[in-house]
């Protein structure tokens, strides 16, 4: 079967394949990784208990902390001489998480990346401008291998050097852009400043955007300013890197289910939630050799859908990631996701989609401020009109977040532009308490 056909596998065939692979994965994890054996024994489950896909929920969860506790290679299921690649997270919030790949894992990764790119039918006719960071981060190399496998010409631009990147995109006639959504927007901004006509000077037809959550508003802004098909690419290094899921032309984020089984749980109780309910995404790898992950808690918030998608793919789809549980702010007891704020400001005329959320303590209460940039074209010259804009944003935020946020209008381009994942939150509460 062709790569693309794998997304359309008959359901029964897919379930049978998943069960066979799940049983193999659980066997290998139990016998090759002491950590898993201990965990299964404590939970009183044996690999032989996994007789159907339903039995998955008997298995214990794995967390980022487990990876950190066994830093660097403690959860690997193969000897180091079988490992051909090592990636690692930046470790901004503690010890880095380290992941490894065998030759077989590299082939799987290349396959799911190729299938990601096939969401926009990338082929040897395309020139792929890859502005994801190359290095320990999985984004750059992940997309690189996938695009190369499809025979496209890859430009390994990596991050930074915005103006130079624009020149190369134009001169090489790039048809596909791969980068984070916030960088795609930054590229568009700088292109306009440099006097480019985004639609005439560039040949882009589609882009693959991931590595950070993006609200519907931001996705729309990126798609419209470049005039391209917006494909959302979802993944995380603990599972494989990018290539876990990708969105079809109808915007449904399809999980490559023959390699990864998704579940959604209640993050508080760990209970599996029915399809259609929002909760934390949990993923089990079915084909990873070096680092099998059993019921890995991603901390990403989403909803699973099993109703058929208009595109005809049989593989399950999930909703765009609302945010990472890590990014979730609890402000006066209310959960706030940066993507909700983003959604509000992208709907309002006169401000750019860049924002920073500042949380402070004021006495016993938390105080939420959202800094938003006035559009450089400034739609008004009236102080009153700008004050009304500020009020309108505050009202909209209240309607969406159920919490009072103060909006501060700032000058264009004063909020830090990010080359990789955008930094959207400044939490000063720990500092002031």
């Amino acid at each position: 079967m062709s790569l693309k056909e794998k997304d359309f596998m008959p359901k029964e065939e897919l379930r049978a394949l998943q069960l066979k692979r799940l049983q193999e994965t659980v066997e290998r994890a139990y016998h090759l990784v002491p950590f898993y054996r201990k965990k299964f024994d404590e939970a009183g489950v044996k690999p032989s208990d996994i007789r159907s896909l339903e039995d998955l929920k008997k298995l214990p969860f794995t967390t980022k902390q487990d990876l950190r506790n066994h830093y660097p290679f403690g959860l690997f299921a193969v000897p180091m001489d079988r490992v051909v690649r090592i990636h690692s997270s930046s470790g901004t919030t503690g010890k880095p998480t380290v992941v490894g790949y065998t030759r077989h894992d590299m082939a799987v990764w290349t396959e799911v990346m190729a299938r990601t790119l096939l969401m926009a039918d990338v082929s040897e006719k395309d020139i792929v401008h890859n502005a994801y960071g190359y290095g320990l981060f999985t984004g750059g190399l992940g997309f690189h291998y996938g695009a190369e496998a499809l025979g496209a010409a890859v430009v390994p631009a990596s991050g930074g050097f915005t103006k130079r990147q624009l020149m190369l995109m134009k001169d090489f006639g790039a048809t596909i852009l791969c980068c984070t959504p916030s960088f795609a927007l930054h590229l568009a901004e700088v292109a306009k400043e440099e006097g480019y006509d985004l639609k005439k000077d560039f040949k882009l037809r589609a882009g693959f955007f991931g590595a950070e959550p993006a609200s519907p508003g931001l996705r729309k802004a990126v798609a419209e300013s470049w005039g391209i098909q917006y494909v959302e690419a979802y993944g995380l290094s603990e599972i494989i890197g990018p290539g876990v899921a990708a969105s079809c032309e109808y915007g449904s984020l399809h999980v490559f289910e023959d390699h990864f089984i998704p579940e959604v749980i209640d993050p508080e109780t760990g209970e599996v939630l029915p399809d259609g309910e929002e909760g934390e995404l949990v993923i089990t790898t079915l084909t990873k050799q070096a680092l099998p992950m059993i019921r890995y808690r991603t901390k990403d918030i989403t909803v699973i859908h099993r109703e058929p998608c208009k595109c005809g793919r049989t593989i399950v789809w999930i909703e765009s990631i609302k945010g990472r549980a890590d990014d979730m702010l609890i402000v006066n007891g209310v959960n706030v996701f940066p993507s909700q704020v983003e959604h509000v400001i992208t709907k309002v005329e006169g401000v750019t989609p860049n924002y920073v959320i500042v949380v402070d303590k004021k006495g016993v209460l938390d105080k939420l401020e959202v800094w938003v940039e006035v559009d450089e074209k400034m739609l008004t010259d009236g102080v009153g009109t700008l004050e009304r804009l500020q009020k309108k944003l505050e009202e909209e935020l209240l309607n969406h977040l159920y919490i009072n946020a103060k909006v501060k209008l700032v000058e264009p381009k004063t909020l830090e532009r990010s080359m990789g994942k955008a930094k959207r939150i400044v939490d000063r509460r720990e500092l002031s308490s």
Partner: protein, 146 residues
Amino acid sequence: MTKYAVKQLSVFLENRRGRLADVAKVLAEAGINIRALFLADSSEFGILRLVVNNPEKAKAVLISKGFAANETDVFAVEVEDKPGGFYSVIKILAENGIDVEYTYAYAGASHTAILFFKVKNEDFSKALKLLEESGHKLIEAAKFYE
């Protein structure tokens, strides 16, 4: 009548120390001459309104330096520099139901003052016509661009 439409620049400024100096420096270095200015402010930000000798160039330079700036049409009336000069103009506008969004002025050379007015776009030509009919002296935009 469009010859009387003076291109006024408006620049958004956060209330941060040194921002006014930053704007002034950008314009000075670009060789832009400021003919009139007015700062409208709220508690958190301000809008600097400028009449300059080359509005297109000034706007381009400001935007390239990262300021939010736009252009608005205002008109200029010359009155005698004596009590009642301002009233003679504002009276005409008020009697004819034309709202003044904002206005600023400077006392020019030899006994005259220049008043700038911003009215709604739909009232612009009507205001000019009324003032001409009442014998007021409108100033052509080109005079500020010399």
